[in-house]
Symmetry: C2
Subunit: 338 residues, 2 copies
């Protein structure tokens, strides 16, 4: 310890009168060490306040302790939930979480991602939807030797590299719940085109209708963009129909709430005049009035599992579950039709 700066492993070694390798063994909890020296060195470490330099470790080990969440998702609650899940997984470990948004509309999108992966060389990345369904990114991860886990609704049994939720099934159940309540004209507000998540959700919706022998009427299917405004628009169109639906399923909560507000602005009571079901279970959904019946999407859990797959030994990645249940949360926005 030269009086300045943080003590290094050399300082500790000198102070404890052992080799730096021995100190290294202590901080790595190597089993081939006598109890006596371990205690001696640990005492010195404590006394000097030595903390190993992660940069040096990263260089020597040729791997660092960074989990990166890569996304192009503007939804705040989603992102924060993901961050929470990852943090739960890495809490207490040496790992840290890096967050990196990308613009998928940029011409340099893939180059940007590649530059990030090659520069930061994170230990592992969690690919968040909707960007996670991009096969090029997966190829990029493979190419750069980056461990990855996709969070996606894609069908895929590569359990080591994906975490998914059974959205289709959950939406089917939600729709069956509407049908069981007596609804037969149910509007759907779709998610953005080309994204995988709304495909699954819509799929579950359609399956339920088909199973109940209810025809799929084009006028009841409305486009959406996962935004509040698109929910407003879609609902406006739906309730303007000659024979409007008695219930609406929106592919996410934000649109569902846009729909609720639009219905109310147009004099419809919820749920007496029209029932609404959403998807996500954002905090908001329990704050609106009436509270929103929705499908709980286990983002936090998915993110936690994704991170666990990344920080554990590679061969154990597939041992964590890859499919987590989305579940129907019944609140106040559904009632039998008048």
């Amino acid at each position: 310890m030269k009086g300045e700066g943080k003590p290094t492993i050399n300082d500790v070694a000198a102070a404890a009168k052992v080799s730096k390798k021995t100190v290294s063994r202590v901080i790595n909890k190597s089993p081939l060490l006598s109890e006596k020296t371990r205690e001696k060195v640990e005492a010195v470490i404590r006394e000097m306040g030595f903390v190993p330099n992660l940069q040096a470790r990263a260089l020597a080990l040729r791997r660092n302790f960074i989990i990166a969440a890569i996304h192009d998702n503007p939804n705040a609650q989603f992102l924060v939930n993901v961050q929470q899940g990852v943090m739960e997984a890495i809490a207490g470990s040496e790992f840290a979480l890096m967050v990196q948004p990308f613009d998928r509309n940029s011409a340099s999108f893939e180059d940007d991602v590649r530059a990030f992966l090659e520069r930061q060389r994170p230990h592992g990345v969690v690919l968040l939807p909707p960007l996670s369904s991009d096969e090029n990114l997966v190829a990029l991860c493979r190419e750069t030797g980056t461990r990855y886990v996709r969070m996606s609704s894609i069908k895929n049994d590569d359990a080591a590299h994906i975490v998914s939720s059974n959205d289709r099934e959950a939406v089917r159940q939600a729709t069956e719940y509407l049908i069981a309540s007596g609804h037969r004209r149910i509007g759907l507000i779709d998610g953005p085109v080309g994204f995988t998540s709304p495909q699954e959700r819509r799929g579950g919706f359609e399956e339920a209708l088909v199973a109940a022998g209810i025809p799929l009427l084009p006028e009841l299917f409305r486009p959406g963009a996962y935004t509040f405004e698109s929910g407003v628009e879609a609902a406006r169109d739906l309730i303007a129909l000659a024979d409007p639906p008695t219930a609406i399923f929106a592919c996410n909560d934000e649109m569902a709430i846009g729909a609720m507000i639009t219905c109310r602005r147009n004099g419809l009571r919820i749920p007496q005049d029209i029932s609404v079901v959403g998807f996500d279970d954002t905090p908001l959904s329990s704050h609106v009035w009436p509270s929103l019946t929705t499908v709980r999407w286990p983002i936090v859990e998915m993110a936690r599992v994704a991170a666990l797959k990344l920080i554990g030994p590679p061969e154990a990645a597939a041992e964590h579950p890859w499919l987590l249940p989305s579940t129907l949360v019944k609140r106040e926005s559904v009632t039998p039709p008048a």
Copy 2:
């Protein structure tokens, strides 16, 4: 290039038949280099797809390229805005963003922060509110030699280490707007006790009342916790008063919206029967009906400036502005009292 793994500076040096130091000069754009060798080496770098290893760089330079956002803030929109601001500042640079939440209620809070700083040794940290008002953390940053910028409403002219917004003034203006509209009984829903931001906001509110000669009536001051539910409760109490207020200022949007919904549930029309003003300008505030008049808090800008202060040369940190304007956004939730 040994056929395996990424090429290193040594591989490039060998291939270009120059010393590794010369390659180092090229990647650092050193001016003392002949144009000829620069081009030759750059060609080899491109051809081999060489990307310098940040870990090694970090070790040699004894500094890394990580900006960490440290927080104990559960508000999703806030966090994402901060992340966006930081990303705007570091886009195109070598820097990356790390996000680290802490639990201020934990007994090991300070130890946790210390462990994070000492292990990751980020190049700089942005301390987010409310944790940013903790002087112990600032001391910790100093002690560990970590560059920091506080995002806070604290009064402080240490321009190199703080980014603030003139919340007090903005709230005063918002309140003056209510007063100018004819309101004289205005309820306040406070923020959590012990936090600095609600102090400023309440301060601006009181200043405006005092300046207008309106007495500060205790029954019109209600506690809050920045949560939707606390807004609900406070509003319930306010409208239950024998002489209820004709307007409410809530210290954040979430409470304001809780208040709006509560008023409506109790048969009050907004803004005809009661006006509401919030603070934050979350996306939500323009989505509710009627849309919420609120104070726009420039989080993205503050975060961007904070990051700029961190990534630039230390002596230039104070040159960036430290005070950014919060501004009143007039929407539909305010009208003169009946």
